[in-house]
């Protein structure tokens, strides 16, 4: 009797999808393609994104059974209603693309507050239930989306047998700094694959990867709720799934973010990445160097606009962080690294330098500290924020007049530093600082 009670409690706890959502899924039935849209108060940008998705499906996959699923984290601005109310007749009149089939757009509220990981899990669970052969996630803020994105993301999975399709964007010169300076170089050095966007907001997955990923143990952890995307990438790599990259086009610049947003973003991305290192040590500890990933599409250049960055402010935040967090850094960093950081913290903007070598050492020491939980892990991630600001400033200074190619070369050299220093990470991972 007690066992039965426990089982029921467990089952009740695992009810991820609401009955209403299940009813909607029953009506949709089996599909070939599922497009997921995780949203939260995106009413200002969602409509053109939906239209582009619909046009993409109708143009490139007119015969496939498709559904658009919105997993909403408690929007108060009518976002779900915009998704479910989007009519393919609008696409028809705008682009003369004829719909052979019914194209469902359904929505579910998975929580009252946004949790990207739960949204992803909801969408993948729906894909699993509907037996979707390919599942694409699109950011509701992807205002630069073109209908062709749908095809570029889907085709490698749907037609060519890939399991994960990561995006490549044409970015503004100084967009994606966290990706370029930390997430990409570190993922590449650790896991040995040159996936430029390991934490993507647009990507496609195969049914087998989606099912495997759903069965991971991460969902009840905090990382499962807030940072699942990076786990998806690492699951694909460690599970030896077929991964490729496609050029999508320009990525919409990030809207203005506050300091607290950067802390949250670091926790969601870098924290999750550090966590995966713990999980997957046996998969990455013997990897040396990196290999390219199959890449398709045409790279494009974005005409950079003048970026206004308050460099002095960045330097000041870096210097203040180094000074104020010194006790914390003493538990995380090697003395030589800390001393070097203190040295550069004294530089004024015009002479400021935070080399790739030092940045890689810093990051690896943070990762090792995280592994050993030398202090509260959350505090470790937060302590990295001012240092990341310092590295961002250095990146801006190094590439101030550089072309897009110059920037890519710079990123490549950062990656090489991370790869070169990987043995150093293994050393401190095992032995401590």
């Amino acid at each position: 009797m007690q066992f039965k009670f426990c089982l029921e409690a467990e089952l009740a706890e695992e009810a991820l999808l609401t009955d209403e959502f299940l009813r909607q899924l029953m009506n949709v039935g089996e599909v070939d393609i599922l497009i997921g849209l995780p949203t939260h108060n995106n009413s200002k940008t969602i409509a053109p994104v939906i239209r582009a998705i619909q046009a993409g499906i109708l143009k490139c996959f007119p015969r496939e059974r498709a559904v658009i699923i919105n997993a909403d984290g408690g929007s108060q601005d009518g976002t779900p209603e915009i998704v479910t109310g989007a009519s393919i007749d609008d696409v028809w009149s705008a682009s003369k693309v004829y719909a052979l089939r019914t194209l469902h757009s359904i929505s579910t509220r998975y929580a009252r507050t946004p949790e990207p990981g739960t949204a992803l899990r909801t969408i993948l669970a729906a894909a699993d239930l509907l037996r979707a052969k390919a599942c694409v996630l699109i950011s509701p803020e992807a205002t630069t989306i073109q209908p062709e994105w749908v095809q570029r993301l889907l085709r490698p999975v749907y037609n060519d047998g890939f399991d994960l399709v990561a995006p490549l964007y044409c970015r503004e010169k100084f967009e994606g700094l966290l990706m370029r300076n930390l997430l990409y170089p570190m993922t590449r050095a650790i896991y040995g694959y040159r996936i430029h966007e390991p934490y993507a907001s647009e990507f496609a997955v195969s049914s087998r990867l989606a099912t495997d990923f759903l069965n991971q143990e991460l969902w009840n952890d905090e990382w499962g709720r807030i940072g699942a995307e990076i786990f998806l990438t690492t699951t694909a790599i460690t599970g030896q799934y077929r991964v490729c990259q496609v050029f999508l086009g320009p990525k919409a610049p990030a809207t203005h973010r506050s300091a607290s947003d950067i802390v949250a973003a670091m926790r969601r991305t870098v924290g999750a990445l550090f966590f995966t290192l713990d999980q997957n040590f046996s998969d990455w500890n013997t990897i040396t160097g990196s290999q390219p990933v199959s890449t398709s599409g045409d790279p494009c250049n974005v005409k950079s606009e003048m970026v206004r960055v308050n460099r002095k402010h960045l330097r000041d935040m870096f210097a203040a962080g180094v000074a104020q967090l010194e006790p914390v850094f003493r538990s995380i960093l090697l003395p030589s690294t800390l001393s070097e950081l203190q040295r550069i913290a004294r530089f004024e903007v015009r002479e400021f330098k935070y080399s790739a070598d030092l940045w890689a050492r810093t990051t690896f020491e943070f990762a090792a500290a995280y592994h050993k939980s030398v202090i509260n892990r959350d505090h470790i991630i937060q302590a990295l924020v001012p240092l990341y600001r310092g590295r961002s400033l250095a990146f801006l200074l190094e590439n101030g007049d550089g072309s897009n190619d110059d920037i890519e070369n710079n990123v490549e050299s950062v990656c090489c530093e991370f790869e070169r220093l990987k043995p150093y990470l293994l050393e401190i991972w095992a032995n401590g600082k």
């Binding site: 009813r23 909607q24 029953m26 009506n27 949709v28 039935g29 089996e30 007119p62 015969r63 059974r65 004829y98 719909a99 052979l100 089939r101 019914t102 469902h104």
Partner: protein, 556 residues
Amino acid sequence: MRALGAGRTSLTLKREGSWYKEAIIYQVHVRTFFDGNGDGIGDFQGLAQKLDYVQELGSTAIWLMPFFPSPLRDDGYDISDYESVHLNYGTLDDFKTFLANAHDRGIRVIIEMVLNHTSDQHPWFVESRSSQQNPKRDWYVWSDTDTKYRGARIIFMDTEMSNWSWDPISRSYYWHRFFSHQPDLNYDNPAVREEMWNVMKFWLELGIDGFRLDAVPYLIEREGTSCENLPETHEVLRELRKKVDAEFPGTMLLAEANQWPADLRPYFGNGDEFHMAFHFPLMPRMFMGLRLEDRKPITEILQQTPEIPPSCQWCLFLRNHDELTLEMVTDVERDYMYDIYARDKTMRLNLGIRRRLAPLLDNDRRRIELMNGMLMSLPGTPIIYYGDEIGMGDNIYLGDRNGVRTPMQWNGGWNGGFSTADPESLYSPSILNPVYGYPTVNVLSQKRTPHSLLSWMKHIIEIRRSTPVFGAGSIEFLHPANHRVLAYIRQLGKETILVVNNLSNAAQAVELNLSRFKGNILVEMFGKNIFPRIGDLPYLLTMGPYQFYWFRLRRI
């Protein structure tokens, strides 16, 4: 003076005003059905012998394809004498006997009338082309150039390069919308209109019940137009209808106009043009909806279908003697249909697919039943193409559309029971393959089996005929969230029928909003079983793959 000749006089059936609305039409070509004289070609004697079969099936009308004298270069649609019977099929007296026997069984007879064109062997054309001064010169459309009426499309695009052909005898071009051996009559000429009315009167006086008027959109040509659906064409047709109503009330006129619903609507006029018209765009969309497992193509075209006058009716069909025409679909839809239903290019002809119902549906009994279920329950009068009621196959290796015009398969014996002639002398080889051949698929064996397709067809026809709702009732689509389910309400007076079709290959659950029928119980019309009473909640049905239900709503 036209001689009616000997032969049994037909008993004219009671001229009920709208008999065609509740009819079940059986389409047959005399040549294909039964050979009464053993020469290898079906004939009226043979057809008369098989009327019991048609009656047992439940059909209330027969539509005969052209049986007139003809060089048969287009299976009889190239008529060389409008007032006689082709020698292959017997005599006029044989026709009269057949007509009388049909009427004895309550079966009405609809014959084909090709108004638009004749054979180039027709004496009118022979005269017309003999010289530019011939009195019948103006009975056809002649021109010194082949540049007129450029706006008119070419219909038989696989075989014809132009709608004009050069006549070396009279040294000018003649107009033809179909094959070059089928010159178009000139309906601007009152003498032509008068003579064609005389032709129709000839058959009406014999007692036939209706005409299927072939290729009606093309009667008149005007520069700068598509030469289709012109107001002047409608004038000609209204004039004919007026005469029919005045002299032969109760006669039904059925339009063959392969057009979009909105363009077809004028053919009904204000109830003063055609009684019925084929709904061409619906048919391919039924096949499409089935394969897509999506009701969208069907509901979309029916929602685009305009209201028609109360006395008028749509004619619905799954297959007929022609190719499954894909003229009235979009390019995307046509490509899809070709890929799904005619991957082998031999199956394609013009803008269509020359295959029979059973092979199109992979001989899947559930899909055949579902398609027939929709045919019988959507608004309109259903037409069954001969042989489809037993699941006959086709022969795509025969030219043109002959692959769907093979001999009827009556039994597993000599020539499938069609003829006592040598197999080699049949007008067409019989189907012999192990799946669709007459040893496997034939009337006799299916008559002996209560669960055969033939027995099932008899049953569904019986149920369809048990209520006037299907023939004359209104339709209202329900819009359940499950797009694989096509559901509609048919209503006439106090009678209400709910039809639910699962277009999917998999079991489906569907919730129907039947709140306005709250309190009614559902009675399933095939098994007469009672289903739960409609309450406040959406009505939940679970349906097997390709299953369909017809429910009578009863307030008890």
